[in-house]
Symmetry: C2
Subunit: 252 residues, 2 copies
């Protein structure tokens, strides 16, 4: 049973890419096959896995009808494949408007390739523009990383409204997969207050697992490694293993 999950939040720097890479790698470590698609022109998920996007990458799949299978790269991490991207994908934001039914281009491209993986993760850019909408149309669920800080909490309701609009107009099966609290620093009142507010507001849609602020998570991508491979003893690695297990339980 394959599930396609968009990792989205228009607020910048809340841990979307860190969640995509490390939840992906943790699911792969638990022997669940994963395809990670980098839908952000920044290409951070690509770089964070130590890869480079050569042609064809996601841009050519969405705009030149190259079959997705041709853009899939194996990674050094078993059970984890990647569709990379680079700056060229910026062009999609503008060129999409000329294409009839652009919203469905990723869903179409995924076609039967998606069902060859148990989980497909889509790392979204920090906006609610065309690339994020395209990912939401292709997805079964949305995983929302929520940084435990003020501005991040402000923006979540807008994201939930956008998900509702996409669900009604373009993708009826889309649901909120869950909200994961990220960069939680237990030494600060701010983090505890934001976490408490998020739990009271979104209730059981918030995962039990909380990802702590842990510098090892910020160091790992500079070595092209997920946290499990970079430092298995770190609190970051522990958190993403726990999140992967909770994710699988919820999806069961």
């Amino acid at each position: 049973m394959s599930r396609i999950i968009a990792i989205a939040n228009q607020k910048g720097g809340v841990g979307k890419t860190t969640t995509a890479i490390n939840l992906g790698a943790a699911l792969a470590a638990l022997e669940k096959s994963v395809l990670l698609i980098d839908c952000d022109p920044q290409g951070n998920a690509t770089r964070g896995l130590g890869q480079e996007a050569e042609d064809p990458h996601l841009y050519q799949v969405l705009l030149d009808d190259v079959p997705l299978r041709e853009a899939v790269l194996p990674t050094p991490f078993p059970q984890l494949d990647l569709v990379p991207t680079n700056r060229e994908l910026v062009g999609a934001e503008v060129e999409f408007v000329q294409i009839e039914g652009w919203e469905h281009s990723l869903a179409r491209a995924l076609g039967e390739v998606g069902s060859e993986y148990e989980t497909v993760l889509l790392d979204c850019p920090p906006s609610l523009g065309h690339l994020t909408v395209c990912s939401l149309v292709a997805a079964d669920g949305v995983l929302v990383p929520l940084q435990c800080e003020y501005f991040a909490l402000e923006g979540v309701s807008e994201l939930i409204r956008t998900v509702g609009r996409v669900q009604r107009a373009l993708n009826p099966r889309l649901e909120i997969e869950g909200i994961v609290l990220t960069m939680f620093d237990e030494r600060t009142n701010l983090a505890r207050e934001v976490a408490a507010e998020a739990r009271s507001h979104f209730e059981d849609r918030v995962y039990e697992t909380v990802v702590p602020r842990n510098v090892r998570l910020a160091e790992a991508p500079s070595h092209g490694l997920p946290i499990l491979q970079y430092d298995i003893r770190s609190r970051g690695a522990e958190a993403f293993l726990a999140l992967a297990k909770e994710f699988l339980q919820k999806a069961a």
Copy 2:
């Protein structure tokens, strides 16, 4: 002598809004008049100053030709005025493509209002889309907040390339005002390594002043206050006062 400065970086969560609000408030505290324009549909600079965007706000200025002066709000902080915004500004990203010369719409709107302030600060969204391009066309300089982490350093060269393109095609006076290192945590090797790399790569374009990671900076916006008013004794307040002084020295 009035200067218009865009605060931009397509990487999300690097401290653009925090820099816009607190550099603005620090310049105002040094008796320099400041107009802060919230060019990000998230409206974080608006909320962070405790304000709400009622009509007319930036959207109506850019798309309905409402004079900018009518959208200017005084703030509780002397010498600091604000042009607020809200989610409606998202519409500008899409509607701009139908308007001839949209790139110059903010530059035109600023007209002579800009020269009534010693500094105009433009808080940009986390992308290199229409709203950021529009801000770069209106600006004399770009201030780049650079978070001392791996992904953030990756993206700076792309931003500098975009600035170069805008300078050549649309705004010949645009220059790099400076790069400010943000969220610097002196306890981590990562921050020291990224800072050293940024200084060796960008040399004297990097401000001497470094903004440390300081939870008081993340708490202040939930009270609708700049750091100087929220906690003048904090390291965040100290850093932004020093940055304001260095900013004024460099501009002299």
